[in-house]
């Protein structure tokens, strides 16, 4: 009796400990390689690091310097414009395509693959193609003019104010397929019974969509926003290949700004400061969102 009890106790202890043990490596990795490095970056942003890391502390000087730089303001504004449009555009387009695809289309499989494949390609690969397509002298503008509409212009890529929108076009192209797949899956997971009931009650189609379907896709919106924000922040290859931040630095984003300062210009501390600013800005948006969504789930 006693030994059985003891072994049950041991088992119980093991059982509570085991989950923690199992996630421990990931936890340690996260603490060291993510938060540890973020703290390191934070520290470096307050030093005089130029070429390689140095550890002479200078406080918040670099942050003041950062906000005095013209180009940084342009980059931040671009991130807000680009990020906003990108997330909004992908979500809208993805939802839209998913709803349409959900209508028992015969060639659904093929269309789905077509919408999805861009995510498989790295931007270094497709960036050149988009660069040509959007270039007035080589791409769409030239093509449409050759077809006869000789006053057609589409020179956003080479216009300072509009270049960032070209980045949006290419970015939406790459990621909306994924969003579409997520929404499609979400749509298919909705219980038909609820919908049929609403139809029996005489609700019109748009109404059904607005009141029943879209609200029940809320978890999908959550994942989508997380993933899209992640992609928007990381957008580095995209800008480098498409516009190189130009014309001038009109389409610069914080990620390219940071890389340029940290590595190309040997001003590591400034690069680190810009990276921390990026992180803070994202946190300001994501943390409240995460908090509200995860809290919901407790009661779900």
């Amino acid at each position: 009796m006693k030994s059985a009890e003891r072994s049950i106790n041991r088992l119980a202890v093991l059982e509570t400990a085991l989950p923690r043990i199992v996630v421990a490596p990931s936890f340690v990795a996260m603490v060291v390689f993510i938060y540890g490095f973020i703290l390191w970056t934070l520290y470096i942003s307050m030093t005089k690091s130029s070429f390689l890391p140095s550890y002479d502390f200078v406080g918040l000087t670099n942050y003041f310097k950062l906000w005095r730089i013209d180009r940084w303001w342009v980059a931040v504004r671009n991130l807000l414009v680009y990020g906003g449009l990108f997330i909004f555009g992908c979500t809208l387009l993805g939802l839209f395509l998913a709803i349409f695809l959900d209508q028992k289309i015969r060639i659904e499989g093929a269309l789905r693959t077509i919408y999805l494949y861009p995510l498989a390609l790295s931007f270094v690969v497709t960036g050149t193609a988009w660069k040509w397509i959007l270039n007035p002298g080589l791409g769409i503008e030239r093509l449409v003019r050759q077809w006869g509409w000789s006053t057609f212009t589409f020179d956003w890529l080479v216009t300072s104010e509009m270049a960032i929108y070209c980045v949006v076009i290419a970015a939406v192209w790459q990621s909306s397929g994924f969003v579409m797949a997520m929404f499609l899956a979400g749509l298919r997971g909705i219980d038909d019974a609820v919908i049929k009931a609403a139809q029996v009650d005489g609700a019109s189609l748009p109404r059904i969509y607005r009141k029943i379907i879209i609200p029940s896709l809320r978890p999908v919106f959550f994942s989508t926003v997380i993933i899209l924000t992640h992609i928007a922040i990381k957008s580095f290859d995209l800008v480098v290949v498409l516009t190189r931040g130009g014309p001038g630095y009109a389409s610069d984003l914080p990620a390219t700004f940071m890389y340029s300062y940290a590595f190309t210009r040997g001003q590591l501390a400034m690069g680190a400061a810009s990276a921390m600013m990026m992180f803070f800005m994202v946190m300001a948006v994501i943390v409240p969102y995460l908090y509200s969504e995860l809290r919901r789930k407790r009661y779900a």
Partner: protein, 418 residues
């Protein structure tokens, strides 16, 4: 029995390990000459090195004319395992040397007499505190202007030798229906044209104080304002698709007879040659207006990292020696389209454009017109260069007035120095 076999295997393994490390020196070389003519040139060096019994371990990283390579290099150094040699040029050489990670190659320099073969202004960049830490490979001249004679003839225009003449010619060419200037709107290209103008408008002395010494007063001076104005004045004579265009596509415009002139360094020659064009007949290479007595140079070089293995050290010295050898200088520069960095090389294997360049190189070395190119990382630190680039490219692509640009230039440089 099995134990004996086991022992023999272990012994063989140990011997094998030794054999692998002790035979000859291995040089791991970081560079960004990854394809085409450039890669062919690097392969020459590899062959020469291997003929002497050493091995070449390649570490090629293209992109951004070295930007990616520099990131990779920093990452390697930080991880405690630098490559043996790396393609680093300009003031960055001194920055690396300050860290104390470079080995000095004075012995090779002395044995080969480099101080007598290389102009002082170039040698100084290769040295740190008087010691040779980098070996120069080639010389590119930046302030060239590539012209299409057909277009000039049709437009009834003359090759411009001053900036005033230049705008006269542009007007005529534009009237005749051609694009006067083939331009690629990327910051480094914009900076290349800009610094050529600065050297032309202000002369060598002005160039020195602004783009080499980065003196804020000179940067905000009226001469700089004038240079900015001329720079902006070129814009209406370029086509509207210029932003983002790669340099070689701009050269193609001159080759194809769409545009009359391009301001670009001597590597543009390669494009003409590849298209089967002959200098003097299909195209002409002139110095940019007002800059005939100025030679803005870009010298590529390799720095040598401190290594412990004596065989690797031997291989490093061999590599340095070979790079400066007449044999390599000819093979490399003919392949790449640049000119040798050392004197005493026969002009025979080179074409007319290169020969003219070599002569100017020697002449300007003596009269003070030989100066490092800021746009190509030869003159100022990366931070200052970056600051200048930002102002120049923003100015060119916006409506900023020239006075404001000059002021911003001085301010940005001051911030970058802090």
């Amino acid at each position: 029995m099995i134990r004996t076999i086991h022992r023999i295997i272990v012994a063989l393994a140990v011997v094998g390990l030794f054999a692998a490390t002790a035979v000859s020196g291995e040089v791991e070389v970081l560079h960004w000459w990854t394809s085409g003519g450039e890669a062919a040139a690097v392969q020459e060096l590899q062959k020469m090195l291997e003929k002497e019994g050493h091995t070449w371990k390649d570490f090629a990283v293209a992109g951004g004319a070295g930007a990616n390579a520099m990131t990779a290099l920093k990452s390697r150094v930080v991880s405690g395992n630098p490559p043996t040699a790396a393609q680093v040029k300009g003031p960055q050489i001194q920055e690396w040397a300050e860290l104390g990670v470079l080995s000095n190659i004075d012995d090779v320099a002395q044995a080969e007499g480099w101080d007598d073969l290389v102009p002082k202004v170039v040698a100084d960049i290769m040295k740190y505190k008087g010691h040779w830490v980098a070996v120069p490979v080639n010389v590119h001249r930046i302030n060239w202007m590539w012209c299409n004679p057909e277009i000039f003839k049709k437009a009834g225009a003359q090759y411009p030798r001053t900036w005033d003449d230049f705008f006269v010619a542009c007007e005529k060419i534009k009237q005749a229906g051609f694009i006067p200037v083939a331009f690629g709107g990327q910051p480094w290209q914009e900076a290349t044209v800009w610094e050529t103008i600065v050297a032309g408008v202000g002369g060598p002395g002005f160039y020195q104080s602004t783009l080499v010494k980065a003196d804020e007063e000179a940067l905000a001076s009226p001469t700089m304002v004038k240079a900015m104005e001329i720079f902006k004045k070129i814009k209406p004579y370029t086509d509207k698709n210029a932003p983002g265009r790669d340099w070689n596509l701009a050269t193609a415009m001159v080759i194809k007879g769409e545009a009359a002139m391009q301001f670009m360094g001597d590597w543009a020659k390669g494009e003409f040659t590849a298209a089967g064009k002959v200098p003097g007949r299909d195209y002409d290479a002139l110095t940019a207006p007002d800059s005939n007595d100025v030679f803005l140079f870009n010298v590529d070089s390799f720095i040598m990292f401190e290594v412990k293995d004596p065989e690797a050290q031997k291989a490093q010295k061999a590599m340095a020696r070979l790079i400066m050898s007449p044999e390599f200088q000819v093979a490399f520069n003919v392949s790449k389209g640049s000119i040798p960095v050392r004197s005493g090389i026969s002009q025979e294997p080179f074409d007319a454009v290169a020969i003219a360049s070599m002569q100017d190189f020697e002449a300007t070395a003596l009269n003070g017109g030989l100066m490092p190119s800021m746009a190509h990382e030869m003159a100022v630190s990366p931070a200052i260069r970056g600051a200048m680039f930002d102002v120049v490219t923003n100015f060119y692509n916006s409506d900023m007035p020239a006075e404001e640009a000059a002021r911003k230039l001085a301010a940005a440089v001051q911030e970058a120095k802090m």
